[in-house]
Amino acid sequence: MHSILAVDDSASMRQMVAFTLKGAGYNVIEAADGQEALDKARGETVDLVLTDQNMPRMDGITLVQNLRTLATYASTPILILTTESSDEMKAKGRAAGATGWLVKPFDPGKLLDVVRKVIR
């Protein structure tokens, strides 16, 4: 079973994402901010990281930068959830080493489509 690390400081968003992914048969690990995600990522590897951008303690971009320094996360797909589909945001994500982005709000079906595209 594929594992996905879902990172969002909003409990409702995290629940929605986790529920959707679990329903599609993925194993979901949740984290409430970048720091918690990084701590959890050090403990285990996952097949995909889905992270929000604006979070307390550590934001999404910083998380991506940190994850990419871990050998086990060198090639793991990482998607950044952003509210704006702005170029700057994307440029920052790309520079940090993210695999792609997903604009919030998204519906559960869209989420699954994208996840299926990046998890092999």
Partner: protein
């Protein structure tokens, strides 16, 4: 952002409503957190942590609202987010007007959420507020007076995105290359001078980009030619590049499929190169993150954020959300257990201690463990007073502005815990008392200075545990009550008063219905309506309220409440063959009836004189129609006992046959299990399994004294 409507709902296969409750709760906490941050913030020098935390509140609510399809919330929080984003980037400076607008916006979001939760049908009006937020986000300063509707330029009050009125277009305007970034600000001036032109918002950080360009988002009904014409006052025609803002889906630069809602950074997709290519700026939304701010943002992200961490921690991990019904079910079951335990204790109490040592020891342990279990379960329902107190800083802030007084609010003992059911019911009475203190208690600044007091008045809210009850005090250092005025008002109303009444008796008058000594009617505390209501509400919770006042120095109102409504200290009394419970808090004293003590007065009934006070006598056996036990043949009648009880400051003497003892009783609601019975407030189950009714002393006193 373009499409922030309820696309989350379009997928029929997923039922998003199951996440609503979490979202509402989370949003509520976020709003409370934002309000606390804003009230606390140092306007002159706001901390990065605070600004970031407030930004994240708006951002988080917007994200959730967009996902779950609450588009009105999305629209408003989007504007808030835009403003807050510029604030946290230090592109704008905070001022108190902005804080007011942010607080107001928080209230409106709360109202919008309340409507979605179905607790109200009122659709909050947001157009004017959004106009002000947008105006602030452009860097304009609003004068405090401009808070009122009408002072906002029409241009700023443009309808909220994403719905544009017919004929309105949203355009990206690029200006450059320029020598000086501020030249382009003149364009914004144009829109300020010509309200009918529409709105303009910078989509950059106010500095020139690498090619010397500045970017704006313009919402207008005017044709391009007219805009170029106007703009050319300030910049050369060839420096103006106008292009329509395409739908968000039309032009995602790096997306392999024709879908802007997500994309992969594949190297095959050519990155947007030429700055003049429309696609390069097409998707830049207003308030988009600017490259220049990337480094500081990342640096700030690493800073400790104690407050937001705490808020995040509150939300989960250390806490568990459980419905109140489940907790109440638990409390009920423990109540049953307590009764069973009491029955066992009663059953074994006559056993021979030597023979049944182990059994008796076990029953003693059971009793102790049951008591601890009951306390632990009751504590689940206990929440800190800060739940109530937290609303007052905001209220005082608003009241101070409205009343033009300087008010400091001190809060003591916010951590004191009280039953959830009581907390909810004490909110209104406390609100009333605090309003009264602010409005009638505290003097105006001039009066205070004239009286030699500090110009800032202080209102203190204090909570503390005192035995089995909680004491909540509302104190102010204002003018105090005026004895002469209360007496003259009381005379006007035809109340029986004398000049030699004690202060306590005089103060007690203000609890009478409709009593007010306010000089003028104000919209803050109205026309004195309510002190009687406050008293009644508190009495309904089994509590009492007292007032002390010293003229010129202030007033103190003390509210005393039981910690919980589910268990109560009771005195069991025997009437005939039955047992009744009197709430211990209402029992003053008891003594045996001696001959000649009780006097019959006319036809109205019997009275007894206790310590120079006459009070009505009520035989509970008659009141509850309990058959009296006939004394055994030859024996003298059992002497009756008088129990003096008090409610709402009035006393009566109840005739009972026997005093059986004091103990804690688990209160069962009679109305939900049977029906309402006159003079009975509830029931409990005794150790021997029989039901005992709990006497409603206040109802009894009221009827006996009329």
């Amino acid at each position: 952002m373009g499409d922030v409507t309820n696309q989350g709902l379009q997928q029929g296969a997923f039922d998003l409503t199951q996440f609503y409750a979490v979202f509402f709760e989370e949003a509520g906490e976020n709003l409370a957190n934002m309000e606390a941050l804003l009230l606390d913030i140092d306007v002159a020098e706001p901390g990065d942590e605070e600004l970031n935390a407030v930004f994240r509140v708006a951002h988080s609510i917007k994200g959730g609202a967009a996902t779950f399809g609450f588009s009105d919330v999305t629209v408003l929080t989007h504007e808030l987010e835009t403003l807050l984003d510029r604030l946290r980037r230090h592109e704008l400076t905070l001022d108190s007007v902005m804080v007011d607008v942010l607080l107001e916006a928080g209230d409106v979001v709360r109202a919008q959420l309340a409507r979605h939760q179905g607790s109200t049908d009122v659709v909050p009006e947001t157009g004017e507020l959004i106009g002000r937020i947008k105006l602030l986000a452009t860097g304009a300063k609003l004068a405090p007076a401009a808070r009122a509707a009408g002072a906002v330029p029409a241009a700023a009050a443009a309808p909220a995105e994403p719905a544009l009125p017919p004929g309105t277009r949203r355009l990206h305007v690029r200006v450059g290359p320029l020598e000086d970034a501020s030249v382009a600000d003149n364009l914004a001036e144009l829109f300020r001078d010509i309200p009918s032109l529409g709105t303009i918002a910078a989509t950059d950080t106010g500095v020139l980009d690498a090619e010397g360009f500045r970017r704006f988002l313009v919402t207008t009904t005017s044709p391009d030619s007219e805009l170029v014409e106007l703009f050319s006052f300030h910049v050369a025609r060839e420096q103006i590049l106008i292009e329509p803002q395409p739908a968000a889906a039309a032009a995602a630069p790096a997306a392999p499929e024709e879908d802007a809602s997500f994309g992969l950074f594949t190297d095959t997709a050519a990155p947007p190169a030429a700055p003049s290519a429309p696609a390069a700026v097409a998707t830049a939304a207003p308030a988009a993150e600017a490259p220049a701010a990337a480094a500081p943002a990342a640096a700030r992200a690493a800073e400790p954020r104690a407050r937001s961490e705490k808020a995040a921690a509150n939300l989960d991990s250390n806490t568990l959300r459980v419905s109140v019904e489940r907790v109440d079910q638990l409390i009920n079951l423990v109540g049953e257990l307590v009764i069973t335990q009491a029955m066992l204790t009663q059953q074994v109490k006559d056993l021979d201690p030597a023979q049944f040592r182990a059994l008796l020891g076990g029953v003693t342990d059971l009793e102790r463990n049951t008591r601890h279990l009951q306390e632990a379960v009751m504590s689940i329902r206990m929440i800190p007073m800060s739940f109530v107190f937290n609303r007052f800083p905001r209220m005082i802030r608003d009241l101070a502005a409205k009343l033009d007084k300087k008010i400091e609010l001190k809060m003591v003992g916010e951590a004191t815990e009280l039953d959830k059911g009581l907390i909810e019911k004490i909110v209104d009475p406390l609100t009333h008392l605090v309003r009264n203190s602010a409005d009638h208690g505290l003097e105006t600044t001039d009066k205070r200075l004239a009286a030699g007091k500090p110009e800032t008045g202080t209102i203190t809210l204090a909570a503390s545990h005192q035995g089995g009850s909680i004491l909540i005090e509302v104190r102010d250092d204002g003018q105090g009550l005026r004895r002469d005025r209360i007496l003259s008002k009381a005379r006007e109303r035809g109340l029986p008063v004398r000049d030699d009444m004690s202060d306590a008796e005089v103060w007690a008058l203000i609890w009478e219905a409709g009593f007010s000594t306010a000089d003028k009617v104000s919209d803050v505390s109205g026309r004195g309506v309510g002190m009687d209501v406050v008293r009644r509400n508190i009495a309904a919770l089994g509590g009492t309220v007292e007032l002390e006042s010293t003229e010129g120095q202030g007033t103190r109102v003390s509210v005393r409440l039981p910690l919980t409504l589910a268990i109560m200290d009771g005195m069991s009394i025997g009437i005939g063959d039955e047992t009744y419970i009197l709430p211990l808090a209402s029992v003053i004293e008891s003594f045996q009836v001696e001959e000649g003590m009780i006097q019959t007065v006319g036809s109205s009934g019997r009275v007894v004189k206790v310590r120079d006070e006459y009070m009505p006598v009520v035989a509970l056996a008659d009141e509850f129609r309990v058959p009296r036990l006939a004394p055994p043949d030859g024996a003298a009648a059992v002497p009756e006992i008088l129990v003096i009880v008090e409610a709402d400051g009035k006393r009566l003497a109840a005739i009972v046959d026997e005093l059986l003892g004091q103990h804690q009783v688990v209160v069962k609601n009679l109305e939900s299990n049977y029906r309402r019975v006159r003079d009975i407030s509830g029931a409990t189950i005794l150790g021997d399994g029989r039901v005992a009714l709990i006497i409603d002393v206040s109802s009894l006193v009221k009827r006996a004294r009329h």
